[in-house]
Subunit: 352 residues, 2 copies
Amino acid sequence: MDLRALKAPIVQAPLAGGASTPQLTAAVASAGGFGFLAAGYKTAEAVAGDIRELRALSDAPFGVNVFAPPATNVDPAAVAAYAASLATDARHYGTHTGEPRHDDDHFADKLELMVAERPAVVSFTFGCPEALVVTRLHEAGCDVWVTITSPDESELAAAAGADALVVQGLEAGGHRGGFSDPPQYEEFGLLSLLRLVAQCVPVRLVASGGIGDGAAVAAVLAAGADAAQVGTALMLSPEAGTPLAYREALKQERATSLTRAFSGRRARGIVNRFMVEHDAGAPVAYPDVHYVTTPIRAAAREAGDAEAINLWAGQTHTLAVEKPAAEIVRRLTEDARASVAEAAERLGDSRS
Amino acid sequence: MDLRALKAPIVQAPLAGGASTPQLTAAVASAGGFGFLAAGYKTAEAVAGDIRELRALSDAPFGVNVFAPPATNVDPAAVAAYAASLATDARHYGTHTGEPRHDDDHFADKLELMVAERPAVVSFTFGCPEALVVTRLHEAGCDVWVTITSPDESELAAAAGADALVVQGLEAGGHRGGFSDPPQYEEFGLLSLLRLVAQCVPVRLVASGGIGDGAAVAAVLAAGADAAQVGTALMLSPEAGTPLAYREALKQERATSLTRAFSGRRARGIVNRFMVEHDAGAPVAYPDVHYVTTPIRAAAREAGDAEAINLWAGQTHTLAVEKPAAEIVRRLTEDARASVAEAAERLGDSRS
């Protein structure tokens, strides 16, 4: 998959956990961008169904995002104490806390599915696949992308054979996609991270984190990215599976923050009541805490109450627009062209 | 001062506390950029001397950066306890801790000096000047720039009459320049902050934070900035007053972090022993803690020991090069042109 051959230099973020739909993936591709299906939080069978549905909608190449297996250093007592602290919330929504579980999100099954289905790209979040896994996917004809959040991770991913890196700045909505939590390194803003990674590794770069309009797309291309990955910018489109209360929150001028309150791993979302009340008590325990909070989040979604939903959103969520996804992709690309032309004008002629 | 008329879209960061010199300011201007003198930590008389020295070196317009008066909510007991915790360090460097002091860095004197000396620009850090101060500087013929770190602050600064905003992302080296510590808002990466501020206010924008090479300059121009402010990128130049041990640290692949350990206000620097040992204990107390640590930092500089110097540095400090400042400014501009041209090529023709 030649990133630089994409007509629109736009990659749709996988958006695991609800907003991802085959319709969104197909719409992004129809405008010349590159779409992803999110395998996270699903069985391999459900992902296979999504792939079938997408292939019925579009014959464009697409990617599938898979969660790498999480670390295993979880303290069950801390998880139990956290679950107990959520009892009032659970009662409020007429539900209970979920059973904590530590699993690898069906990693082996999904890997087999990828080898069988051969999407153009398999991207990984939460860790770097072993070189053997990368080789196996390469032999199946899949490119491998790895999400990184530091220069050190970029070198590990390149050494494992990654074809491209999703360079995630701390502006990004949703989970921090790097290899460890807590991180082993400083937290980089997107622009600094892009420039440092470009010095480290010779692979293709997909910039990710707070890219909300065409000027930001232009900026990351100027900074050396081959494409811009956008997630929040697409979440108000009709093709996205974003719940109504979540859509309303995205339009409001509300702060975002990183929190482990919903999943046990740091993720950026709009600050709401649940985050404020539970952030300090949330342990490092992914995906255990994800399962603990699942019934509460589901009940809040059902009730249309945004104050206990994990409102993942990047720092520029107020820039998101309510347009069809294909139109958003076209507009991002056209506005990026205009922004680059303005920057060229500002810089003047090199002969002057 | 028309930012868009600068031949090089490069603003030299003020670099209060040592690296700032009239030679650096003049060298940046000689290459078509815009230089600043740092008034911070100096008497008005010393600043007047710097202005005389600069005017002897260069007839180019320049700016002076002034610290806005700090908040007054400091707990003397917390400062005393912190000073006591530094006793071992003080002994190690054969010195003592300094007397804590809460002052406004001679704000009124410096304002009079600005009105008398009329630099092209007076920029403010740590707060927004009152509208009356802005009017007075305007009447003296000075443009007023205000450092901001959030969209809310951009609106306050524009309402006070600021002609331009220094938009500081969290990648930036040195002190967080916003209006309060702790901040009242989320901490924004530069690219997201630029795009949000561009939606809020119609004034000129100077991007600041981790801009270490020409590609990053191109990126912030594409994102709507009128110029890029660089600090760390100039600190290895011979014109900068950067101590030798500090220069060596800047070249090393060492992490940076935000800390109050040196000054009582959060600032980004290279992680060293002093930061690791004292970060957790440092109170919110600026500039009181600055005065407490001054003798230790001075002794460490004298001893050439980087482990107790405040090694302010942006996230891309390893990109800094040992070249004359004018050559750095020219190279940043030329490389920015090349990066914009590459982005334009990537985006293709709008008719395709």
